[in-house]
């Protein structure tokens, strides 16, 4: 399919996606340490179990270690990074500089998004930038890669060769517009999409049906986002507090009915069910697994889905970068 006429794999993840394998990505736990060991420590459980790992850009509007630095540290550990870029903390100059820097350090996947607002984090007094929006960011990344220039037209001495990704939330209003919004991101340059956490499969199926009608799945690889909550309380929190996430009441009840000590296991069962349904859904090419301090749960889900071992390509691409 697609691959925009690419003859060579841009990254290990690209290779997995092009081969038609069901891709598995995950997210690096955020760290707040100034020593490289803290990243290596949280990365360790994912080594060899996923195709690539997102390095988040001050996720939930809380500062953490720089995503570019974390990406380099992941590469040192033998894990392929996907470097996130949001629009909140950098203007177009800073974003382009960090994209070049990330590529120079060996990162070969990026994912572009708007990002949570500062009011969602621990520095609500901060000045948010939003010089560009996510669509501008995608187009800018593709200009740098494909035209070999900055947004200003000034030439780069060597262009980056990233695989460019975006995110989409199928569950946030206006829901009818979401498939078209994803298509707009693909038209702006996204080659793969990672979705917001899926708890509501009927709504996800409806989103994908319309995305397939628009032809999104033939122009980009779509990875369904699956979050593994570690308790019933976590699902309640996501339903009531985290913006843009749809957790149906019966999902919360399902976990609440189970004693606390077995809730984690029930959440793994739930995640496995959602992943299996995603695998059966037309146009879904992989999963993006998330958790907070639950890397061993992520690995368990991947194992139970029979998706281990992962193809070798991801690891090879890292070492030859």
């Amino acid at each position: 399919m697609i691959a925009a006429g690419d003859d060579i794999a841009r990254s290990g993840l690209h290779d997995v996606l092009r081969s038609g394998e069901f891709a598995v990505t995950s997210e690096l736990q955020t760290t707040d340490g100034a020593d490289p060991g803290s990243v290596a420590q949280v990365a360790a459980p994912l080594l060899g179990n996923v195709d690539a790992v997102n390095c988040t850009d001050n996720s939930a509007a809380h500062p953490h270690i720089s995503q570019v630095a974390a990406a380099k540290l992941l590469i040192d550990e033998g894990i392929e990074p996907i470097v996130q870029f949001g629009c909140r903390d950098r203007n177009r100059l800073g974003l382009q500089a960090d994209m070049l820097g990330a590529h120079a350090l060996g990162a070969r996947n990026i994912v572009c998004m708007t990002g949570d607002d500062v009011t969602a984090g621990d520095h609500p007094e901060a000045k948010p930038l939003y010089d560009l929006d996510a669509i501008h960011l995608l187009r800018m990344a593709r200009i740098m890669r494909d035209e070999g220039t900055y947004l200003s037209g000034r030439p780069l001495s060597s262009p980056p060769s990233f695989l460019v990704g975006a995110v989409e939330n199928p569950f946030a209003p206006p829901v009818d517009y979401r498939p078209a919004r994803m298509l707009k991101k693909i038209e702006a340059g996204a080659e793969f999409i990672q979705t917001q956490c899926i708890f509501n499969m009927p709504r996800m199926r409806e989103f994908m049906r319309r995305a397939v009608d628009l032809g999104c799945h033939e122009r980009a690889w779509i990875l369904g986002g699956v979050y593994i909550p570690r308790s019933a309380r976590a699902t309640q929190y996501m339903r009531d507090i985290v913006p843009g996430i749809d957790v149906p009441d019966d999902v919360v009840r399902r976990l609440q009915q189970i004693p606390r000590e077995r809730q984690e296991q029930a959440a793994v069962d739930l995640a496995v069910e959602i992943c299996e349904e995603l695998r059966e859904t037309e146009g879904v090419h992989g999963i993006h697994l998330m958790s907070i301090k639950g890397d061993q749960l992520i690995v368990e889900v991947i194992e139970r889905l029979g998706l281990l071992p992962r193809p070798e390509s991801a690891r090879v691409a890292v070492t030859s970068a």
Binding site: I135, T149, L151, G153, A172, P173, P174, R181, E187
Partner: protein, 150 residues
């Protein structure tokens, strides 16, 4: 090259005087009243269902973020409806420009803030985009020393 041939926009919007100042005041009063306009100077209301995108706390010009609350309210200002939910509904109700929601709107030229988009539309000033974006554009400036060594 004469100044007339230099198509690059000046830094900052020129100080409006006379008729241009009157135009600015009329636009500001009318559009602030009608659309809660933020005077970005590069109006795209027709591609946003007549909902001003600069009211979005994230200044999004190409559609809603992923944080819109389930009831359609803004995640940053939860007592206000998401301007992009309004844009989508507005665009469905319009007899024309419905497909403009799919337009790829270029990055904001922040130098045009507080200038009259009516004037910028007439002069074509609001068509300026970064050179590599495509369409009309200024040239990137290069230091003469950098040029020689390149």
């Amino acid at each position: 090259m004469g100044e007339k041939l230099d198509r690059r926009p000046r830094a900052g919007a020129p100080e409006p005087k006379g008729f241009r100042k009157a135009l600015l005041i009329v636009e500001k009063v009318a559009k602030e009243k009608a659309f809660d306009c933020r005077m970005c100077g590069q109006c795209i209301l027709h591609s946003t269902g007549m909902s001003c995108p600069m009211r979005c706390p994230k200044n999004l010009r190409n559609g809603p973020c992923g944080g819109v609350l389930q009831d359609g309210m803004c995640e940053v200002l939860p007592d206000r409806p998401c301007v992009w939910v309004q844009a989508w509904e507005g665009s469905r109700a319009l007899p024309v420009w419905r497909d403009h929601m799919g337009h790829l709107n270029p990055p904001v030229d922040w130098r045009l803030q507080d200038s009259a988009s009516w004037e910028n539309g007439l002069t074509g000033r609001d068509k300026h985009v970064p050179a590599a974006w495509g369409g009309q554009a200024g040239e990137a400036t290069v230091h003469p020393d950098a040029e020689e060594s390149g």
